[in-house]
Point group: C2
């Protein structure tokens, strides 16, 4: 996963929002990588749900059910 | 969580990268919300690990161990 879709700046903000005093650049990059992996996993599940419903368009309801399944919410 | 740090455009790209033909705007927003929640969860764990190691700076190693714990990798 060389080319990440998520940029580093919002990762810094998320880690700060969680309460961090200081965040290393590599930590922000690591979070981008982890979240992109989770995102792909959720999206793949969501595509299965959309197809099962006879749709080619992924909708919010597909993402929501997929997230519950993929990350055990 | 009214103000999301993650923007919608990379969410579209992630869902497309996962193989979707079409993605609704609300699906992209839903993924941003889910990933931000996961990001905060991972970051909070990572902060605990950093503090436990006597650091105020969150490093990549904290994010990686926190991701394994928070999302069961």
């Amino acid at each position: 996963m060389a080319n990440l879709e998520l940029s580093v700046a919002p990762m810094h903000r998320i880690i700060k929002k969680a309460g961090a005093e200081r965040v290393s650049e590599s930590a922000a990059k690591a979070l981008a990588k982890e979240l992109e992996e989770v995102g792909i996993k959720i999206a793949k599940e969501a595509i299965d749900y959309a197809m099962h419903a006879g749709r080619k368009t992924v909708k919010a309801e597909d993402i929501e059910i997929a997230a519950r399944k993929a990350i055990g919410k």
